[in-house]
């Protein structure tokens, strides 16, 4: 099953965070790899969106959209470094 890159997260994350988070630098809790959210491997043919570390393939982000809510699970992310204007 193929994946797309983390730019595919832009719309969903912008809706929740009101800024484009794909330029933020995330750190993987599995291997410590640091890289832009846009570099994640994103699987969308699933009950939710799953983003994995490009280095170790650990799940760093899960996003589930319900009817009137979204669940964002970031337990695989140590931190997000977000550029500010």
């Amino acid at each position: 099953m193929s994946h797309v890159d983390g730019n595919a997260l832009a719309g969903d994350l912008r809706e929740i965070f009101a800024v484009d988070l794909t330029a933020a630098t995330g750190q993987c809790s599995g291997c410590g790899y640091k890289g832009p959210v846009a570099s994640l491997r994103v699987y969308q043919s699933a009950p939710g969106t799953v983003a994995r570390c490009p280095h170790c393939e650990e799940v760093v982000l899960r996003l589930v959209r319900g009817r009137d809510r979204a669940w964002l699970d970031l337990r695989g992310t140590v931190s997000l470094e977000i550029p500010l204007p």
Binding site: H3, P47, V50, G66, W71, D73
Partner: protein
């Protein structure tokens, strides 16, 4: 009264077919995955049941396929809203695998190669409700559909039927799995449309 009768072509063509609420009928078999597809050779495959007391029960691939198997024809319902009717599987009932397992557990956390997990009450895995399936539609189960073996629990949404199954941890307390900890319903009964937490 229609002039042209659809004829006796079976349930698949019937306009009267009953689907769970919110579902539509799929003719193909969509492939859903939350990560890279694990490829597990059967000579390295193992299925393990761990009890809450730390007891461990293992089966090799050869041991699994030598157990009494059943042919199962069942409807399946994915939480992404497709349903597929009359799917045909072959596998070993969890009743067979759990027969000699001593446990006081009420819950199970199913674990897969690749790291996926899903939870369900142990009572939903017994009494002819769940199988370790290794054939689909007369052929070996392909890796895309969870081969070499997947859990089959067709009375719950299909995310509970874990692909690439490698074991079950029996638990005294419920522990949410991969999707259940990210917004999906803990139980997932398609007839009660238990898609998300709070449904």
């Amino acid at each position: 009264m229609p002039i042209v009768s659809p004829g006796f072509t079976g349930r698949r063509q019937s306009p009267d077919v009953q689907l769970p609420p919110g579902q539509y009928l799929a003719e193909d078999f969509p492939v859903l995955t939350a990560g890279p597809t694990p490829r597990v050779p059967t000579d390295r495959w193992q299925f393990t049941i761990n009890t809450e007391a730390g007891q461990r029960y293992d089966w090799s691939w050869q041991q699994l396929v030598e157990l009494p198997a059943e042919k199962i024809t069942t409807d399946i319902h994915c939480v992404t809203k497709w349903s597929k009717l009359g799917t045909r599987w072959k596998g070993v009932s969890l009743d067979v695998l759990l027969e000699d397992v001593e446990t006081a557990a009420d819950f199970a956390l199913v674990q897969s190669y690749g790291g996926y997990t899903t939870n369900l009450p142990l009572e939903d895995l017994v009494d002819g409700q769940a199988w370790i399936a290794y054939r689909y539609d007369g052929d070996e189960l392909t890796p895309e559909h969870g081969g070499p073996a997947r859990l089959l629990v067709p009375h719950l949404y299909f995310w509970k039927s874990a692909k690439w199954v490698r074991g079950i941890q029996l638990l005294l307390e419920d522990e949410p799995g991969f999707w259940e900890s990210a917004g999906y319903h803990d139980y997932g009964d398609p007839w009660r449309e238990q898609r998300y937490q709070g449904d």
